[in-house]
């Protein structure tokens, strides 16, 4: 067992240490960044898989106390049923997206430094068992993301990154304030200790705990892009380089949403959410409104990347609403939807990237007749869109099904109605894209130069579309995502079994 204990530490330390290598070796060799990133992320994925066999196989929770300091003083890293699942998603997607960046993405060794730093931050966010440490990793993840977004060619990406930076910092700081109040109320920062100490807090302390929850919730609402705090997300996703969007769209907000679930259920506990007046109601309301606002805004977008970004707002709204249901089924649904949505969005943004590299199409209108020109990418995109809508058999359906079931169990009928309505709206924008791809003939006229391309720096940023730039790896990434999404659609029961020990613990 002793060797397994080390895995959570290695998962965090390896990418952060490896992040120095591309820059250091880059002084001597030209293009080592990609190779280092592939070696590291593949190793991480293997380590996570090994960790998963122990966590799920033996049913044990792997904890590692850093430096052997006991809980009260030190920092713990915890790999339980929930965090291992998210870690698998993080390492898997981080490995997969590299298949795109090999020829398509932003190049250069510094880019891969940021890439590895981001992966390390995300894994730390997943594994940590300490609320303050969570803040630190939230900021590391944020820093990595800002750098990745701004690595685009145009100046727009710098503006988008600065906007995200300001909002993201406010979000993380709000969370830190919440942590401060928690510390005032209990005097500890360890999640497990907080969980035992919080139910005993009485009198004035109770107010402190409630204030803490409010700050934590608002902080994470920004990070998870809940309406009306979502404004950074469409800009960030749209202006990030094509190779980066799959990574950040699949992971950054997903892991933040996971972290919110972790804090809400492990630290505050289901009892707190259920008994505090208006706590779960507020969470459900914010989530539901995000679902509706996000889908509605997605329907009216012309640019495909922006449309998918607004779709993320709505899907994360669904997850937050599912947290607010405070039922076992709802929680399982939220986690399944987290993983499923992460995979789906990674695949979708990768498909968008492949299409824009090969044909230059970026708006919905330009997708006309795409199925003829790029049949494989269009096919994979169709499967992924189907999963986004939630049509069985796909993982999108499994998540939505459990969430809806949880809403019915909690007798919150408006939430069930919201899920139904959002499915309709999702279908509206997915169908629009499908219709363009398959049933509208390609426009015969020459495609105009896309607007938004900067004219300030000489007007050369628009790369000419070239079908030869699509490699087997790029197409492979999209196809693998599509296959996985369908395959996991059959794994609803397995998900439930895997998560059951965690859910049992939360609700007892």
């Amino acid at each position: 067992m002793s060797s397994v204990d080390l895995v959570p530490v290695l998962l965090i330390a390896t990418p952060i240490l490896a992040a120095t290598l591309p820059i250091a070796l880059g002084l001597r060799f030209d293009r080592v960044g990609w190779s280092i990133a592939v070696l590291t992320t593949t190793g991480l994925f293997a380590a996570t898989a090994f960790l998963a066999t122990v966590v799920y196989g033996d049913g044990t929770t792997v904890t590692h106390a850093l430096g052997d300091f006991p809980r009260q003083y030190g920092i713990e890293l915890v790999a339980d049923e929930l965090s291992t699942l998210i870690a698998l998603l993080v390492t898997g997607v981080a490995t997969g997206v590299l298949a795109y960046t090999r020829t398509g993405g932003p190049r250069g060794n510094t880019f891969y430094t940021g890439y590895l730093l981001l992966t390390g931050g995300l894994l730390g966010l997943t594994m940590t068992g300490d609320v303050f440490n969570l803040f630190v990793f939230l900021e590391i993840t944020g820093l990595g993301t800002y750098a990745m977004i701004s690595s685009g060619d145009g100046p727009e990406s710098a503006v988008a990154a600065l906007k995200y930076l300001i909002l993201g910092t406010v979000g993380a700081s709000m969370y830190l304030l919440g942590v401060g109040f928690l510390f005032m109320a209990t005097g500890t920062l360890n999640m497990a200790e907080l969980a035992t100490a919080l139910p005993d807090v009485e009198g004035q302390g109770e107010t402190l705990v409630r204030v803490a929850f409010a700050f934590v919730f608002v902080g994470f609402s920004i990070k998870v892009a809940q309406w009306p705090l979502h404004t950074w997300q469409p800009d960030a996703y749209q202006h990030a380089p094509d190779g980066v969007t799959p990574l950040i769209a699949a992971l950054v907000s997903t892991v933040s949403a996971y972290a919110f679930g972790r804090v809400a259920f492990t630290v505050f506990g289901a009892d707190f959410l259920a008994t505090t007046p208006y706590a779960s109601e507020v969470v459900v309301t914010v989530g539901s409104i995000s679902v509706l606002a996000g889908s509605t805004l997605a329907v009216i977008q012309r640019r495909v990347k922006r449309m998918l970004a607004y779709s993320s707002v709505s899907q994360f709204g669904l997850i937050v609403a599912a947290y607010g249901l405070v039922t076992e089924t709802g929680l399982v649904g939220a986690v399944v939807h987290l993983v499923g949505h992460g995979l789906t969005k990674a695949g979708l943004f990768a498909a968008v990237a492949v299409i824009s590299v090969s044909t230059g199409a970026r708006t919905v209108d330009e997708y006309a007749g795409l199925a003829k020109r790029r049949p494989v990418a269009a096919m994979a995109m169709t499967v992924l869109l189907v999963s986004l809508v939630g049509i069985p058999p796909s993982v999108g359906f499994v998540g939505k099904w459990y969430i809806a079931l949880g809403a019915v169990e909690a007798e919150l009928w408006p939430v069930a109605a919201v899920i139904f309505l959002s499915t309709m709206l999702t279908l509206a924008y997915a169908a629009r894209l499908l219709e363009k791809m398959y049933f509208t003939p390609a426009a015969p006229t020459e495609r105009p130069v896309p607007p938004g391309a900067a004219a300030t720096d000489g007007g050369s940023p628009v790369e000419t579309a070239d079908p030869d730039r699509v490699t087997v790896g790029m197409i492979g990434l999209v196809v693998v995502a599509a296959v996985l999404v369908v395959a996991l659609g059959f794994a609803g029961g397995t998900f439930y079994d895997l998560l059951e020990p965690f859910v049992e613990e939360v609700f007892n």
Partner: protein
């Protein structure tokens, strides 16, 4: 209310600072001043943590070896350690923010947000 303010004035002050930082971030059109606002906002939170650890009549949390440690009144060391870490994170954030501001200025030739919006809308 007045009594609460008299005894907890430090907390009140921190939240006034936090509000000023937030306001600067939202209302100021200058990007550099926005970044200053972010910094102020964060620093106010750090001060909040420090004031939280303060103990009336407490000394610095360094325990002398010979005396009886049980009778010693010290400020809580944990928030101070936390703030040290958070300061490092905050410095890194400010650096990245300023780097982005420099890039934006180089590309658009302006630091004002309203001008920036106009320039971007024109394209």
């Amino acid at each position: 209310m007045l009594e609460l303010l008299a005894t907890h004035y430090a907390y009140a002050l921190m939240f006034v600072l936090i509000a000023i930082g937030l306001y600067m971030m939202i209302a100021n059109q200058n990007l550099v001043k926005k970044v200053i606002g972010v910094s102020l906002f964060q620093t106010a939170i750090f001060l909040f943590f420090i004031s939280m650890a303060y103990v009336e009549g407490g000394s610095a949390p360094i325990v002398p070896a010979e005396e009886n440690p049980g009778e010693l009144v010290v400020a809580s060391p944990l928030p101070q350690v936390i703030v040290l870490t958070a300061i490092v994170v905050g410095v890194a954030l400010t650096a990245v923010a300023l780097a982005l501001v420099v890039r934006i200025y180089a590309e658009y030739g302006t630091l004002r947000e309203d001008t920036l919006t106009e320039v971007r809308a024109d394209e």
